[in-house]
Structures are given as C-alpha cells and as structure tokens.
C-alpha cells in the first residue's frame, strides 16, 4: 500500500501537441492518500480512463512523473508496480476454473499453495462465489464473470492500489447494489487504496470517501460527497452531481442579495463582494409556496415514485424542483430558494462569501 503522487502530470496522445486542446490530461499535481477510497467522476472523454491507465502503467504519460510512496515509477512496467485493475468488461481466463482464475495472480508471484488456497476461499466468500469455485469460468453469466474479475483484483494482499474502470457497467441494477456494498466492506476490511472510475454519480458518491470530479482533462474539485453536493466548486460539478443537476440563473450579486434578470430579488445566506455571474440552487432546495416567492410556469410534472419532479420555467430558463411525496402542486405556484443553500458563481467558478 502506498501513497500515489502525480507531479506535473499531463498527457497528449499526439506526438507533437500544439496547444492546450491537444492534451487529453491537462497539467495536474495530485496526491492520493494511502488507504483512501476515491472515485474519479466525469463524463465520457474527460480523461479519467487515461489517468487510470497512467497510474497502472498501461500508458506512459507524455509529461510528468508518477510516484508510489517515494519511488518514481513513471518508467516502471505494469507488472513491477504491483497494482490491480478491474476493467469495464469481464476478463476471465476461459480455460481455467473460477478457483484457478482467482489464484492466478498469486501463483505468478510464487506464493505458498496453502496460503493461496485460504486466500482464494476468503475472496470467494466475499464475492459470493464460494459454491462455484470449481466450475469452469467459460460458461458463466456476465455478472459472475465480472465478480471473478473483481475477485482477481482483490486477491493480492500487498497491492499498492486497486483501480476500477467502470466495473459495474454490464451489471444489472439489482446486482449493482450487492456488489457496491461488498466493495465498500472490502475497503473497510482491508484498507487498500482504491480508485474507482465512473460516470455514474450514484456509484461514485456511495463508494468513495473523497470524490475527484474531472472535466475536460482537469480536476475540477475533490471533496466528500457532501461537499460536492452542497458547495460545488464549479458549475460543472453542480450540473453533473444530483439528478437532476443544479439550477443556474444569471444574476448580479451584491452583499446578501442577488438580482435576477427581470429584477426579482433573492436573499442569500451570506455576504458577497459584487459579482456578475450566476446563482446556483439545487432542485432539492427549491420549495413550492403559495405566496411570497417568485412566479414560475410549470411545463411537466414527473412522478419518480419517492418524489415528484416539477420541470418549470422561470424567465424562460428551465428550473427543476423536487417535490416530496404527498405534497400538492398548486396551479399557479411560486418558488422559494433556501438562502443558505444558494451558491454564487463567477465565470463558472464558485465565489467564496465574504468572511468565509
């Protein structure tokens, strides 16, 4: 187990990059703490798989260094880095049984057979495949194969880190719950550094202690799920996290008030210096009220079971509201924003309130 440091890391797939836009990963300095459970969250093409492959050694970065603890491993081969990686699509060795698949990494390192047997039994229990250990890996279902891939990633005790590249993509929603919980328990039990790449915010937020959000090859924010939810540092984070994402309205901010385009005033929860930008408020923190709020027009009401989604419009801009189960939706509603939950953004980056 080791702390992973990325120093001045950048990567371009082109042999002679001309400018910033040719870089898949823009320059970054980042430290992954030993034993942390991290999620790397972002949409397709943001560079997260590139970053993961650089850490595991499958890709050599065009700039910068990668350090495991104090060792510079930038030029080291994957096999020498002693990491485990689980891919999106199940990779199993077809000619071997489940047991042999799980034992493979240990056998390659020449471990004692008694130890291998015990460890395989332990991992088999954790992934819920102890009854199938002696079956051939070939004819199994996709999620069984993915569990084997996961198991193989976890079977070595002394790995520096375990990297997951969207591992639950092929799994059914019901099975995803089980596997996610098991991963979390695993992290609790063994304490490996785990980095989990995904574009699904639920997976990221439920698995990780710290979530790293990437956008366009850059790390935009790293924080706990709560931080990302309540105080997103960038409008992308506000938009990407939460279903639906944060509502943004252009506004001019001064002191503890924001003035919207049509002149309406909104109370803020803190004091700000003068800003011409946007205010962001999550649909969960918008409440419908009879009077004393801002008028909106309702376009659609969607019933999502545990709550309802009201898709409304304010000043021509879309505004989403989450209405708890059992609450009525008036015909001519008005909305109130919870002041303490409003964030202010200038040029897409969050503005810290005065005195904060």
């Amino acid at each position: 187990m080791a702390q992973i440091t990325l120093k001045n890391l950048a990567h371009s797939y082109l042999p002679r990059p001309q400018g910033v836009q040719d870089y898949a990963l823009k320059e970054m300095d980042h430290v992954w703490q030993d034993g942390g459970a991290y999620a790397l969250l972002g949409s397709s093409g943001c560079g997260k798989t590139t970053l993961l492959n650089i850490i595991s050694g499958l890709l050599r970065p065009s700039h910068g260094r990668v350090l495991f603890g104090d060792h510079d491993v930038t030029d080291a081969a994957t096999a020498a880095r002693n990491i485990a990686q689980v891919f999106q699509f199940p990779v199993v060795y077809d000619t071997m049984t489940v047991r042999e698949n799980l034992a493979f990494p240990l056998r390659n390192r020449g471990k004692d057979p008694g130890y291998i047997r015990d460890r395989v039994a332990q991992i088999g229990r954790i992934i819920g495949m102890e009854e199938m250990l002696n079956r051939k890996a070939q004819g199994l279902t996709a999620d069984a194969k993915q569990k084997i891939s996961l198991g193989r990633g976890m079977v070595r005790e002394d790995v520096n880190a375990i990297l997951f590249d969207e591992p639950l993509t092929v799994i059914d929603p019901h099975m995803k719950w089980e596997l996610r919980t098991q991963l979390k328990q695993l992290h609790r039990e063994f304490g490996h550094t785990m980095i989990y790449v995904t574009h699904d915010q639920t997976e990221a937020l439920t698995f990780a202690d710290k979530v790293v959000v990437m956008y366009d090859g850059r790390v935009v924010q790293m924080g706990t799920p709560q931080d990302l939810f309540e105080t997103p540092a960038h409008t992308f984070v506000g938009y990407f996290i939460g279903s639906p994402g944060m509502n943004f309205l252009p506004a001019r901010v001064l002191g503890n008030r924001a003035t919207l385009d049509d002149g309406a005033q909104v109370d803020l929860g803190a004091e700000y210096a003068a800003v011409d930008g946007q205010i962001g408020i999550r649909p969960e923190h918008v409440t419908l009220t009879e009077s004393g709020g801002l008028p909106v027009t309702i376009r659609r009401v969607e019933d999502v079971g545990r709550h309802r989604l009201v898709r409304a419009e304010m000043q021509g801009r879309p505004l989403n509201i989450v209405v708890p189960e059992g609450t009525a939706v008036a015909a001519q509603p008005q909305v109130r924003f919870t002041p303490a939950r409003i964030n202010v953004y200038a040029d897409d980056w969050r503005v810290t309130p005065r005195g904060a």
Partner: protein, 366 residues
C-alpha cells in the same frame, strides 16, 4: 392504430423465452418493458417487430393478422443499445436512407430529414459522419433514422444504456417530447425502474419471460399485483419481512425466531384474513426519525453510503437485510445499533404465493 398480441409465445432450444402473452398497445402510447436482463424484453420486442415468428398465438395490427408478415413489410422502426448508423454515410444520408428505400421524392426527403434533425437537435451535424460525433449524438442520429419514416410502431431496446449517466438524463427528457410529436406507438425496454417512472405512459413488468403486470406506470408502481412485480419495479430493492395477522393484531417480524418485533395496529389491514404474509416496503419509507403511528425496529448498521443530501442505510434486522434511503447525511459506523421507523401505511402484504393481499394504504389514497 393498435397492436394486439394474443397468446404469443416463443421457445428457443427447448426453453421458453416468452410464455403465452397477450397485450394490447394503443395509438400514441409510450409502453415501457421493464425487467432485468434476460427477462424477455428483447425477445418480446422482436416478436412485435416481426423479426422472429411466434411459436403460438397471433399478432394483429389495426385488426389485421400480421403474424407471418416480414418485418420489411410492416411499418416498424427499431433503435438498439449500440448506436447503429451507417458509418460511411453522413448524418443527413443516414437519416434519409429509409426514405430513399421507400423511393420518396427528393424534395420530400429533404423536408422530412430536416424536420426530424431539428426535432433531435442534429441540424448542425448533418454534414458529418457518425464516427465523428459523440455517443449521445450518434444515438440521436439512430433515433432520427427510426423516426423519419413515420412508422406506426417504434421499438427502442435500452437505447440509452451505453450512454453517460448525464447524457442519459438529458435524452430521457427529450424522448417523451419526441414521442408526443410523432403519435406512433412507442415500446421502450429498460432495466431501470427510475427510467420507467420518468417516461410515464404504460409499463409492463417482465420476469423470466412472463409479463407480470401491464398498466399505467404509476399504478403498476404503487399497486403491484404480486411480489415479483414489486421486486422488479423497485430500485433500491424492496425490503421484506414476514408478518402474522391474528385477529386485530399484525405482528411484524417472527417473534419466536428473531426476538425483535414491534406490534402494529390492524386497522389498516382489516380486510385481510388471518395468517402468514410477507410484508414489503420500499427503501424510501424506512426512516431514522419516529413519526406518528410508525413502528420502530431495532437494527444494526451494516454500511452507510452517502449520496450528497441523502444516505443509503444498509441495516440488518434479525436475519433480514434492509436498505433505507433517508434524508440528510448520517455517518454511522458498521455495527452501530439504531432504531429504524416504518409507517404501516407504506406496507404491502403479499400472501404465500406472492400475490398481493393488501395494497399499501398510502398508495390507495394518492
């Protein structure tokens, strides 16, 4: 325009992929097929399209028997999970291809292609090749190609499954809009209950080749006919515990075996006969704070997962594993003893064979 399936079934290699099924889909409706992988969604869609021939039963389109008819002769469009576009043609040509096969005039083709592209916001990309587009744009191109010929039946087989989470959200908002504009019969297959709820319309829940329930989506969600439908239509998974009804008391939990019980008023389930039942409730109805009339269960935390403003609590109660979705951020260590609260108004009672004995009171009131 109606599509009727009468007793349609299909067997492959000695195994039933679809048990005899009868469904009626009406004009201008969005019909969701909800079920896990291999439950028969794709098989059923292929039968509806005419790509496969049913082993028994008939298929009627507007009253005409089309059971043996080739798919090319029916007005059917299909969109797949993998974005299927002609890689060598531009987006414009891709969308135009069904119309060219139907030999429409050049002017008509141009008008319809532009109209459909506009509806799917593809107008700036008409000159590009599909491989130059992002995943979401490619899938929109496939959608446009499916919609342009104005087919009466549009089948979508998990079309958003290969897309980013956020893109999926965005396209999911657009699909009802497009659907309303077209007026065709839409059939949409998915594994996610949330998607079914967001799309609305009618939902058919599938399990191992059988349609367990078919009806308006909120109704199938709130009033499942049996435990299987309730299971299929719940994400997070539905929680269960055994209950016993005796006279005017309903004992939640198996007192003898588990030692952790709470007794509830029987007023809500007055119409149900005495006996053993399986009580089911959804994760969002399990709470951390006591409420009027709620029952408290002593449980132990297995793991907590925080998603922004809410927390998934995985608890064990006796031998059962439950998942609760509660508001607020609760950081609790595994092994902590907690009391979780459940209002009996949110409980569904299922009898031994899995059929619904008593619906949850809150569902009937809504």
């Amino acid at each position: 325009m109606t599509l009727e399936l009468h007793g349609v079934s299909r067997m492959v290699g000695g195994r039933s992929h679809i048990h005899p099924t009868s469904l009626t889909l009406n004009r201008g409706t969005m019909n969701v097929l909800l079920g896990p992988t291999l439950s028969g969604k794709t098989s059923l869609m292929r039968l509806m399209a005419g790509l496969d021939r049913p082993d028994t039963g008939r298929i009627l389109w507007n009253g005409d028997d089309v059971t043996g008819q080739r798919v090319q002769d029916r007005g059917v469009a299909m969109v797949y999970q993998q974005f299927i576009n002609y890689p060598g043609l531009t987006v414009y040509e891709n969308i135009a291809s069904p119309l060219r096969i139907l030999r429409r005039s050049r002017r008509e083709i141009d008008a319809r292609v532009r109209e459909t592209a506009e509806m799917l916001r593809l107008t700036p990309m008409l000159g590009r090749k599909p491989l130059e587009l992002s995943g979401g744009q490619q899938q929109r191109c496939a959608l446009a190609r499916a919609l342009v010929k104005g087919a009466g039946l549009v089948l979508l087989d998990e079309p958003l499954a290969n897309l980013d989470y956020k893109l999926r959200e965005e396209l999911r908002v657009e699909i009802p809009r497009i659907f309303e504009a077209s007026g065709a019969i839409f059939v949409y297959a998915t594994t996610e209950p949330e998607e079914a709820l967001l799309l609305g319309g009618m939902t058919a829940t599938l399990w191992q080749g059988r349609v367990t329930q078919f009806g308006p989506t909120p109704q199938v969600f709130r009033q499942p006919r049996d435990a299987t439908t309730a299971r299929v239509f719940s994400d997070p998974p539905m929680n269960f515990l055994p209950v016993v009804k005796q006279g005017d008391r309903v004992i939640f939990g198996d007192q003898v075996a588990r030692g952790q019980t709470a007794q509830g008023q029987a007023g809500l389930f007055a119409g149900v006969a005495d006996g053993r039942y399986l009580a089911g409730f959804r994760a969002n109805h399990l709470g951390m704070a006591p409420r009027d009339g709620a029952l408290g269960f002593a449980a132990r935390i297995a793991v907590t997962e925080i998603t922004g403003a809410e927390t998934y609590l995985h608890v064990t109660h006796g031998g059962d594993r439950w998942v609760g979705l509660v508001e607020g951020v609760h950081r609790l260590n595994p092994g902590t003893a907690v009391t979780v609260w459940l209002d009996p108004a949110h409980v569904y009672l299922f009898d031994a064979s899995g059929r619904l004995a008593a619906p949850a009171a809150y569902a009937m009131a809504a």
